[in-house]
Assembly symmetry: D2
Homo-oligomer: 278 residues x 4
């Protein structure tokens, strides 16, 4: 008995659930969990079907292709460990949480390597017997630095790139190369406080709640599809530094939760938004 996940993303049409689940039934696959969503404004259908049984991938996909409307995307994903490359700068909290969750088995993923533009986090990474590469950006053109990073990333062939407080802006070339596969944590409740120093901005505005946002990276800074967000309450007694300290716990938990959702194939990218089946 194997477990696989069938992901369907196609123009909406009548009878899609019946057609897809019929094909699964015909293949004697048991549906463990089924989630669907129709974006009526856009006329788009999304379905995630967790299946159990003996799979003949080729004929299953063939049957689906016959049944689904033109413009359909469908993937049949085997449950199994994905590979990550993490990118970091100096702050350890998000990196540390992911390392610890992997160590404890709470996040079922292989961290192939960690790349930092500063050396600070190397010692922490190496405690967990994971390769750490320091690629400093000083003295390099942005394009030159990114070429080094991309070469290294490609060596590891990761499924996803996780920016665990990587404090550099990526070029459109970089983003294009890993489209839909770069996950970032932004230290504000987007779209509030886009850009640099969000906690300083939050302090100056006098907000009573601060937050964090995990999103896919696109060319527009802090504008990519949001995967997960959360917040905590603060008050007048929080300095910008105290907000940053309090915010770290939200950042790490939002990033870890977003990562878990992506790893479990629960997230569809839908234009500039996501469909997330929790």
């Amino acid at each position: 008995m194997q477990k696989k996940i069938l992901l369907t993303d196609c123009p909406d049409a009548k009878g899609l659930i019946a057609k897809i689940t019929n094909i699964c039934y015909k293949h004697q696959l048991n549906i463990i969990k089924n989630d669907e969503f129709v974006d009526r404004a856009q006329g788009r259908f999304f379905m995630r079907t967790a299946l159990e049984g003996i799979f003949n991938d080729a004929t299953l996909l063939e049957d689906l292709d016959m049944a689904l409307p033109a413009g359909a995307e469908r993937r049949l994903v085997a449950s199994g460990r994905k590979r990550l490359v993490l990118m970091v700068t100096r702050e350890p909290h998000c990196l540390g949480d992911i390392l610890m969750k992997c160590y404890a088995g709470a996040l079922d993923v292989e961290i192939a390597a960690v790349i930092g533009n500063h050396p600070d986090l190397g010692a922490l990474v190496e405690k967990f017997d994971i390769p750490f590469h320091c690629l400093p950006a000083e003295g390099l053109q942005r394009a030159q630095h990114e070429e080094q990073v991309m070469a290294l990333v490609d060596d590891y062939a990761p499924d996803y790139l996780v920016l665990a407080k990587y404090m550099r802006v990526l070029t459109p070339e970089f983003v294009a190369r890993y489209r839909g596969r770069i996950i970032n944590i932004h230290h504000s409740f987007l779209p509030a406080f886009i850009g640099a120093k969000p906690y300083q901005q939050a302090y100056e505005r006098g907000v009573k709640i601060i937050g964090a946002t995990a999103h896919f990276v696109t060319d527009d800074l802090d504008e990519g599809p949001i995967i997960e967000q959360d917040v905590i309450h603060v008050d007048h007694a929080y300095s910008a530094e105290a907000m940053a300290a309090a915010g770290r716990d939200v950042e790490k938990s939002v990033l870890s939760r977003a990562l878990q959702l992506v790893l479990q194939e629960r997230v569809f990218i839908h234009g500039n938004k996501t469909v997330v089946f929790k």
Copy 2:
């Protein structure tokens, strides 16, 4: 075009989603939203299918009965206003929230009548042109009092009875007569602080969080299937009275949310638990 909701609750079996959605497709009904859950430990399947189209109820149900396993329960419910009878004692906050939400159209329901064992809330109910009946319990045996209440309730033939801070314990006879149709709000995060004076108990225990629980009423006091719960943070500075005051906002919002879920046919009773499709 009509909208109806198909509710299926049956022993688990292979191909149930395919079979049911196929029948819907054959009847040219469009599935707006489908939710399903399998309790694997109990081998029980639950599905809520929101449908749109032209319904032939009799043949649809016939087709379903042919397809579903023995022991299946299925209901096809027309969207439409349910009727409530509310039961109250003296506290206005839950009653007031329901009255106001109905007035504003946020809760699509008909409040047929309000029954109080004290006269205090009559004036409030009558502002909204809803009948209020005061049935005092003083000087009556419990059974006698309940007979009066049941006679009155039955006159109104409500779909659900909502205990909006009705501070009397119901007899098994009363509960049996409206089985699965009585919704209560308990002023604690059950199963903590079962029974009387939960805020006093919470104060004495020194908890840092208090809550409220909406549940179906069964014979065991405060032990019925939980529909919805929520909490708020408190601290050492809250007296039992301050906890009660703070708790009222949670009580009212938990009861209103639970009621909304029930009215939208999102709640299955499953033994002593619920399956709630949000």
Copy 3:
């Protein structure tokens, strides 16, 4: 025995707590609750002292004026019911919650009158025996309309004006006339989604959390000092309308909580921020 609240807002200096509490002690006043905050960046001291005893206001304030540094503001406020005028347009949820809380005694305040620029909410207000005035803006210059509103407001001499979903922008003249006394509820988690149609903006951005913000009104739209904020989680299945419906419960509870804080003299305005002693 009387209860009063002493509010001190002055340049920071050594020994302020000792000096103020000493004076209270000398006057044989018992401190029930004391809260203080120093904004070190701005060098400003804030203290709220809840007192009990026999007050000689004149000599107490005289003693304080001797002890406090130049530029100090201090107020001694008798506990007692404040007067409100509410301003509304068409949506009943915030108005309804305030009306119901006053009726239930959960908000100790006198609602002197409700002013609407549409007639829709008149029937609801009058259920509670409170004067409702409809002042339509159609066919009037903004200044003309506001003159009518201000004349009416001034007749009622309220302590605070509460904009309970009043959907018009106020002129600087209006804001200046009631500086620091106008409380607004904005239907987003400010500073995200400033301006019109925040739920539509939130929907288009694909956020996973929506919120509400209660703030004092200043000349800059949606930029006044924030008193209270809260949020709820949403997902891809929420349309803009569903977000608006879900948001109403947050809006009403945030506005009611902010109002309660202001009425209990827990809020200092501090530049474009607030200091709130909960």
Copy 4:
């Protein structure tokens, strides 16, 4: 310039704030933050005063002792790193979070050693160059095992003992030896689900919220003074195992927050409750 915290816990009396802050002022100490609470039912006064200046501890305490009523307890605590011994069994999540927070400097504490009754977590602890001692209980009387533990703990002379998922019940002798200095994390929202397997109990009851509780350990199992609690929402789709997995994040954050509060001297034990100045 030094920073110290003055903690006062005494019978309530008039003028206590004035007297204490006066003495601080006389000693030319600046009050950075002052928090006080009076339990009126018990007639007890609590104050935490964060001070800055040049301290003469002996005369300061002498002055205080003259001013405070009989039965007063007061402590003057230098800011500085406390020493912890952690006790664990097999689960790494709470331990891992504390280790990582210490590594990152987010928790300013020295972890002197970790003691496990199983060897499983030794490798993790040693990554951080902290001594790990495995003291298996198998084949020993409870008293014998605890003697070994106490001997080891005493060698390290910690300020606090943190039970980071230590799955053994402690004897009254053990508890008495470290009274008020043992912090435990319980994997439920106490007082719900006292005792073993709280997630299984929560699953069986069908609750919609699960939580975690950090508390001081007393002789009564799970009945000690609560320091911090938090919850997360769950639904019918969570098995007992899924609840346990989801609960781990709450457990670790509640324990870390409680520990931070204790380390910052923000927690008074008050009978079977706590007073916590956040």
